[in-house]
């Protein structure tokens, strides 16, 4: 094993005597990443992880100034944007990286789905990935209220009404989240705690599991695809490519954050009537649009209840995909699941476009 040269050699030797650095390096240099015509999709997992790290760093910086009370939340965000040095940039990076993280996660998830990367022995990678999707959506929902502006307040008010119709857990869950009947101080405190403590802890644990599984099991090759070239060594060849994609991701993020800095509306007034045209963030638009399309009563069943039930069941099925796609389990092509994936993508995109334009 070659030791690094230059100034870092002594530090490396010192650490290597105390930590199994050589063993890790040896392991990673033996691990390979397949190269074929769909290899580019492997980078989106790393990009999702990168934007999550940006979330952590910028979130910690924002928490130094943010005050989670209805009296001070709005003013503290305004202070961050206008008075704190580069506060506008940190908040913009936080908000834009949240959106980019969710976008990368969707791309990563659907590419894994269409490449059937969940095939044996990678079932748990899929399950942990879908759990991460739920957690990330939770981040989006809980973070939206924090600026305490009109849009955030009323979108959360409407958003927390939707799950209420779910039998048994609906009203209990919403009550637990809101801390009372109204959206108020308790809701803001709870959303903040969930956003900065509970969700990050859960996410870090599941991400670690997901990444460890990826390192142990390696990347999957789609059924029927042959490797075009000899596989890439993970360390350092693939890692350099990953790091370069992170740099490009950061440049894209910085461009968005500086060209279109994240704004804030008027302070929320709980006594005022809800403004017209309130819409959730883009990743909740498919659910929002579906609720708009479905009538209030379908063959005697409450429309919201029906949509919630179908979405709940579909989410459960999505989590269990590796265990129900029997053809993929036998290393055979499963066109039905490919069609389901493509239809789902088309549905989500159509609902987002429809909700944004109407």
């Amino acid at each position: 094993m070659n030791l690094p040269s230059g100034y870092s050699a002594k530090v490396y030797v010192w650490l290597n005597e105390r930590l199994p650095l050589d063993a890790v390096k040896e392991y990673l240099s033996k691990k390979t990443v397949p190269q074929h015509k769909h290899s580019m999709w492997y980078y989106f997992g790393g990009l999702t992880l990168f934007f999550f790290v940006v979330q952590l760093v910028t979130g910690i910086l924002l928490s130094l100034y943010y005050k989670p009370t209805p009296e001070h939340a709005y003013e503290s965000v305004k202070l961050i944007i206008t008075q704190v040095e580069y506060g506008w940039l940190i908040r913009s990076l936080h908000s834009w990286s949240a959106n980019l993280m969710i976008a990368m996660l969707f791309i990563h998830m659907f590419s894994a789905f269409l490449m059937k990367a969940y095939r044996k022995p990678r079932e748990l990678m899929w399950v942990t990935g879908v759990l991460l999707l739920f957690l990330v959506l939770g981040f989006g929902f809980t973070g939206y209220l924090l600026p305490w502006d009109t849009m955030a307040y009323f979108a959360t008010l409407i958003g927390t009404e939707v799950p209420k119709t779910m039998p048994l857990i609906g009203s209990y869950g919403v009550g637990l989240l809101k801390g009372g009947e109204e959206i108020g101080a308790e809701t803001l405190t709870r959303m903040y705690s969930i956003h900065i403590i509970i969700l990050p802890l859960l996410t870090i644990v599941i991400i670690s599991l997901h990444v460890i599984l990826n390192q142990v099991l390696g990347s999957s090759i789609p059924v029927g695809i042959k490797e075009a070239r000899k596989p890439l060594t993970f360390f350092p060849n693939f890692l350099y490519r990953d790091l370069i994609s992170w740099c490009l991701g950061f440049i894209a993020l910085l461009t968005l954050a500086t060209m279109y800095p994240w704004s804030i509306g008027d302070k929320a007034d709980p006594l005022a009537s809800a403004p017209v045209g309130i819409k959730p963030e883009w990743y909740f638009l498919p659910l929002y649009q579906t609720l708009r399309i479905v009538p209030s009563s379908v063959v005697g069943i409450n429309g919201e209840l029906l949509v919630n039930g179908v979405v709940g069941l579909a989410s459960l099925l999505w989590l269990m995909i590796p265990f129900v796609d029997f053809r993929s389990r036998k290393e055979q092509k499963s066109s039905i699941f490919t069609a389901i994936g493509i239809l789902l993508i088309l549905y989500l995109v159509a609902m987002i476009i429809l909700a944004s334009t109407t």
Partner: protein, 77 residues
Amino acid sequence: MVKRVGLLLILFLNLSAGIAQDSLKRANAIQTQPIEKGVNFPVFEDRMTVLAIGIIAVGGLAFLLSTKRRRADRWSE
């Protein structure tokens, strides 16, 4: 090799500085325009300076990583 990387880096920095200057020129025309009611972000000019510095720093890092990647690829061939 070091000279070549150095020259390319200087070229890259020059280009980036050029882009930054261009951004600043364009910014002058609209720098007094507020972005959103209630909150005025730093003027366009300042934001573009931040962007230019960011692109130079992260772009430079990407360039260095790219040269290291090429070297690593050659080693493994």
